[in-house]
Amino acid sequence: MIVIQTDDVDIGALIIAAKKHGTGAVVVFDGVVRDDDITEMELEAYEDVATQELDKIAKNATEQFRLLHVDIIHRIGRLAVGENILMIIVAAGHREEAYAGSRFIIEAIKAGVPIWKKELTKDGGRWVPGEHGHGKPKTS
């Protein structure tokens, strides 16, 4: 499942479903709204393009790290502190591939998928600056 949606998902159920034949390791990344003195987080996506990018990232990770299963669920809309923003569930034969595949996916999402976050505070809000100024991975 590669999806951008407002609803949360049941990570436990996704882990069970990820265990394809040959699985020896499942790695889950769960990005959470951190309490940086905010009231809520608001997320926005260029949905069609972002979904295509997530598909590509999942495909690249699957090939590069011989993954057996990949789920990426990126939530949008208003999320409270502690809520799940992004869940990546990766299954592989061995832990090295599972960790590396998971890490590859989160870094690729941070680098180039058109999704934005605004931290809402008592006094208004501010858009979170991207980690990569040009929307591409830094080369230095």
Binding site: G31, L43, E44, A45, Y46, D48, V49, A50, Q52, H74, I85, L86, I106, I109, K110, A111, G112, V113, P114, I115, W116, K117, K118, W127, V128, P129, G130, E131, H132, G133, H134, G135
Partner: protein, 92 residues
């Protein structure tokens, strides 16, 4: 011919999410966005620098594909195109 312009995040707050606009054949990406942006001085200043060039961090897309800022002035838009203009991404 009609083109759809989509702004996201801070640019959406300044310009609105979607703008449908009629353009003449041969209109280039940069001139289209310049025309739209000039209607909103604060929005214009967010996207363009003092010399009228796209600010270096601005990301441009045509039909879901990245257009380099350097190529935008000579990239024509066509009927039905979806143009997107947005600040650096911050998902995940």
């Amino acid at each position: 011919m009609t083109v759809k312009i989509r702004f996201f995040a801070r640019f959406r707050e300044l310009f609105g999410a979607d703008i449908m606009t009629d353009v003449v054949t041969g209109t280039m990406f940069t001139s289209l966005i310049t025309t739209i942006a000039k209607k909103n001085p604060e929005g214009y200043a967010a996207i363009f620098d003092e010399k009228g060039a796209f600010r270096e961090f601005v990301i441009l897309m045509k039909n879901g594909k990245r257009i380099d800022i350097a190529d935008a002035a000579k990239t024509p838009v066509a009927d039905g195109d979806e143009i997107a203009v947005f600040p650096p991404v911050a998902g995940g």
